[in-house]
């Protein structure tokens, strides 16, 4: 399945909806979107990965790159993910300690609201 990307802003949080496979072929599109969002002043990003079928280290690299960019502006990049097959690669690489990972967009928004 190809990669579908969409985004919307709610309060100060930009929610990026990702659907499909994030791999060496599709990851550049996600990278471009994250860079574009940051360049336009969106420094608090929430990437919803509930509809992601596949994620490899190329995709992880894009997410880490996005995190570095928003942190340079005191921003945040957090994830929504409950799929075990996707969470596994975050655990293997130790990135569960780097990203805030939430069970739902609502849960992430509540946590983001508390941190403001």
């Amino acid at each position: 399945m190809d990669l579908k990307l969409d985004h919307r802003t709610e309060d100060r949080l930009t929610i990026v909806e990702v659907e499909g496979e994030i791999d060496v072929y599709t990851a550049p599109r996600l990278r471009e979107l994250l860079i574009d969002l940051v360049n336009k002043g969106n420094f608090h990003l929430l990437v919803n990965m509930e509809k992601v079928d596949f994620l490899d280290s190329t995709g992880l690299g894009v997410l880490v790159g996005g995190l570095k960019r928003v942190r340079a502006h005191d921003g945040s990049l957090e994830l929504v993910c409950t799929q075990e097959r996707i969470l596994k690669i975050f655990r293997i690489t130790g990135l569960t300690k780097v990203f805030g990972i939430y069970a739902s967009v609502e849960e992430a928004k509540e946590a983001h609201g508390r941190d403001k």
Binding site: E21, D23, V24, Y25, F54, S57, G61, K88, I89, I92
Partner: protein
């Protein structure tokens, strides 16, 4: 003897095809359903690494993947033609036969500009229970395998 051999040009779009073929053959060979995601991810990592290496060193050369079902195991070997001198030296510094730990060590010794490439090898080392990495001046070969049950489907 290889059940299936596949060669593909060093294009990112072909990595998905390689993943799909590997997963389909793993299922047919009798690899447990719970392991198929690991096969898919590990093969994808190996092929992605090879594609990126070829695009830097030899974009016109094909990448080869062999999928075997010998001895009750499903074995995948991904071979590229890009020189891997750094990896070769790192490998020589390791004692004993290639292991998953060696794969992680190899990844940690890669230069920063190939971070994600080395990251891929580390992921493979964590996913497959038997991984061997053979670096050389002529290219890198990654062999990985998973247990396969005898109840796997046989060719018609």
């Amino acid at each position: 003897m290889a059940t299936v051999e596949l060669t593909f040009s060093a294009l990112p779009a072909h990595v998905r095809t390689a993943r799909l073929v590997a997963t389909a053959i793993a299922r047919r060979t009798g690899v447990a359903e719970a392991l198929l995601d690991e096969v898919r991810l590990a093969v994808g990592e190996a092929c992605s690494r090879a594609v990126e290496a070829h695009r830097v060193h030899c974009p016109g050369e094909p990448i080869r993947i062999e999928l075997c079902d010998d001895s009750g195991r499903f074995e995948v070997t991904v071979t590229d033609s890009a020189p891997s001198d750094d990896l070769e030296q790192a490998y020589k510094d390791e004692e004993g036969p290639p292991t998953a730990v060696n794969g992680t060590a190899l990844a940690s010794l890669l230069p920063a500009d190939t971070l994600m490439s080395g990251f891929g090898i580390a992921v493979i080392a964590a996913l497959a229970d038997d991984v061997e990495v053979y670096p050389s001046a002529k290219g890198l070969r990654i062999r990985m395998s998973w247990p396969a049950h005898a109840t796997g489907l046989t060719p018609a």
